[in-house]
């Protein structure tokens, strides 16, 4: 057990939390505005696929990342249009997008790369580089913890930024207002449609970054369904964190830690791998069952708004 709990565990916790943090922050903007975003999973897949596919053609992971963000905004836009303009059930629309983006990457990778759902492996110099804060030769321990992909630091910065935006900016206050009491916000002259739509589009950009982190950061290719439920885990973290950026961040660290532990335990502990792999999923259920009753969702969440 002592071998498992060491400094590299912290490093891998940070690495594994990052995509969930980005997606959970995305979910935060959508849901604080009153739109449930079950589609995070599908948006992450869209982002992951776009990032790696565009990088294959441009040989530049930064262009890939940018393309992923655009793709995420577009996919979230579908969810936004369906739920805000056409009053589609938010959970059903999100589910449709999840199903759609199980298929779209597979269909496109077949057409573009003649494969059955994966993109070609990128050479090492074409994935996002590590940020070099410490010299890996002279300070290997610190380097393993702090020399991470840039998106790790972006995610951390976004936690702080989101905390500030929601509390102290005009946009943040309006977003919360349309999520809590759209009628009152409307009366006060806030456009419910525009504000909610902005929240949903931001959620697309962030979740897609989380997906891109998986395909051109942590790995160097896209594989079929590579998010493996992380979009849903991010939603659970958001609920566990009571729809608060810092709370959600801490919950994501917990899930990242569970995943890190489960990876470390494989082969070292005398428990079948399959049981270790399901730890994060079991944890999600336990967390939701134990704590959701004390968390209050935004009051108008899930309810389409009609101007009367």
């Amino acid at each position: 057990m002592g071998e498992i709990l060491n400094i590299t565990l912290i490093a891998s916790t940070i690495r594994l939390s990052t995509p969930i943090i980005l997606a959970a922050l995305g979910g935060l903007y959508s849901e604080r505005g009153g739109v449930i975003n079950i589609a995070l999973e599908g948006i992450m897949l869209a982002g992951a696929f776009t990032a790696s596919a565009v990088t294959v053609f441009t040989h530049n992971p930064w262009v890939g990342l940018l393309a992923a963000i655009i793709a995420g905004v577009l996919v979230a836009g579908i969810h936004g249009v369906a739920t805000i303009f056409y009053r589609a059930d938010q959970v059903v629309s999100g589910t449709a997008i999840n199903i759609l983006f199980l298929g779209v990457p597979a269909l496109l990778s077949g057409a573009l790369f003649d494969s059955t759902g994966a993109t070609p492996q990128l050479p090492r110099d074409q994935v996002l580089p590590d940020v070099r804060i410490f010299n890996p030769q002279s300070m290997p321990t610190l380097a393993s913890v702090f020399n991470q992909k840039p998106l790790v630091y972006v995610a951390l910065a976004l936690v702080v930024l989101s905390y500030y935006v929601l509390r102290n900016t005009r946009f943040g206050l309006r977003l919360r207002a349309v999520g809590e009491n759209p009628e009152a916000a409307d009366t006060a002259g806030v456009s419910v449609v525009k504000t909610r739509m902005s929240g949903v589009l931001i959620s697309g950009a962030l979740a897609a970054m989380g997906g891109a982190y998986l395909s051109i950061g942590q790995n160097s290719l896209f594989t079929r369904n590579m998010t493996a439920g992380r979009g849903f885990i991010a939603l659970a973290a958001l609920i566990f964190g009571k729809w608060d950026p810092v709370g959600a961040f801490l919950a994501c660290l917990l899930f990242g830690f569970a995943e890190a532990i489960s990876i470390r335990m494989q082969g070292t502990v005398n428990i079948p791998n399959q049981f270790i792999q399901i730890i994060p999923y079991v944890l999600t259920i336990v967390v939701l069952a134990g704590l959701i009753r004390r968390a209050t969702p935004p009051r108008a969440i899930g309810i389409p708004y009609t101007k009367s």
């Binding site: 056409y86 589609a88 059903v92 057409a111 659970a236």
Partner: protein, 364 residues
């Protein structure tokens, strides 16, 4: 009559719109949409093969693929009736299929007349159990069933892959599948029913008794939901939980009950798969039947007749998709998944079509 026309019109419009969007996707990929759809539909519904000979293959396989979708469509629809979205049919059907195989392997000594019903009951009970878990979590803790059912899908696959790998596999077999169930646990294929009346329905087509069972389940679904007290209570809880509670209905119990029945229906997929087709549990057998069930239920407007029709449509897409995969240059069978997603999206945006219809009436 006018009601029926309206009930049919919106789903039909959603399907047509989805195929139109699909056509754009196919064009973008570089194939001819008309050719792709021709291959898709003729290989799913045609009575003649490429050489012009009469064949049951297309319809036989379309209905075979429709069978699990009727079960999962009913499963999702029943949860919908209680206001719940069961995205966990995928996990529930795996658990059900494994239970059927377990019974068929473990109780090899029993005669078929006992073993077959026993295997079926095991599939249903196991699926119901797996479905009841998120029901209890929702009723007891208020935990959202959508996230929990998804998590339970992953957990089911993990546990079952352990069980197959460590306990039920033929030793040394690289394929993740169980050993065979007892011969007397096999259920009859349609060949057996049609041969005595002189129709030569080939035995290799795996369409089997489970299809008839699926149709019976539709009737049972109708009676249960609209003609019994339990069905009434489930619907009441789904329409307005607070009002139902005031009316003396225990909403929490309805949630658990609805999820258990929903899971049981999903578990029945195992009857088709294990007792009627492969005669063993094959890991990863489901072609997303659980998720497609959501599309089937939505498109079928949560009504048994609609569910059968849309299950046949999606069954046809699975069947036709295999041919599209082979006979086109670029389009793979994943097109089917994409069409499904678009159809659900359009069905959920019913307001869009209502608007279009209203406008066209106003103009006309």
């Amino acid at each position: 009559m006018k009601d029926l026309a309206r009930e049919l019109m919106f789903p039909l419009m959603a399907v047509i719109a989805a195929f139109a969007v699909g056509a754009i996707v196919i064009l973008a990929i570089g194939d001819n949409p008309i050719e792709v759809y021709r291959i898709l539909l003729s290989s799913a519904f045609g009575f003649y093969d490429a050489l012009g000979n009469f064949t049951f293959d297309n319809w036989g396989y379309t209905l075979f693929y429709a069978t699990p979708l009727i079960f999962t469509g009913l499963a999702v629809a029943l949860a919908f009736k209680c206001g719940l979205l069961n995205i966990g049919a995928e996990g529930q059907l795996y658990v059900g299929a494994f239970a059927a195989a377990w019974a068929g392997i473990t109780f090899k000594g029993l005669p078929g007349i006992i073993l077959i019903p026993f295997c079926m009951v095991c599939a249903i009970v196991a699926g119901a159990f797996w479905g009841a878990i998120p029901g209890v979590l929702k009723a007891r803790f208020g935990a959202h069933e959508v996230i929990n059912t998804i998590m339970l899908n992953f957990i089911a696959v993990g546990i079952l892959s352990y069980l197959i790998q460590q306990h039920y596999k033929v030793p040394g077999d690289p394929i993740m599948e169980s050993t065979e169930i007892a011969g007397q646990a096999h259920i009859a294929r349609v060949h057996t029913f049609l041969a005595p009346i002189g129709i030569d329905f080939p035995e290799r087509i795996p369409l089997n008794f489970a299809f008839i069972l699926a149709l019976l389940a539709c009737v049972a679904f109708y009676v249960f939901v609209w003609r019994t007290k339990w069905g009434y209570e489930i619907r009441a809880a789904g329409l307005n939980a607070k009002a139902a509670e005031y009316g003396g209905i225990n909403v929490r119990r309805q949630i658990v009950l609805a999820m258990a029945i929903s899971g049981g229906l999903a578990g029945m997929v195992g009857i088709n798969e294990v007792l009627g087709y492969r005669y063993r549990y094959y890991h990863d057998f489901s072609a997303n039947y659980g998720f497609t069930g959501i599309a089937v239920a939505l498109l079928g407007r949560n009504h048994p007749v609609g569910i059968v029709l849309s299950a046949i449509l999606f069954g046809a897409l699975i069947r036709g998709g295999l041919f599209v995969d082979i006979f086109t240059d670029h389009v793979s069978k994943d097109l089917v998944q994409v069409l499904q997603g678009i159809i659900i999206l359009f069905v959920s945006c019913e307001a869009l079509f209502r608007l279009l219809v209203k406008r066209s009436w106003r103009i006309g």
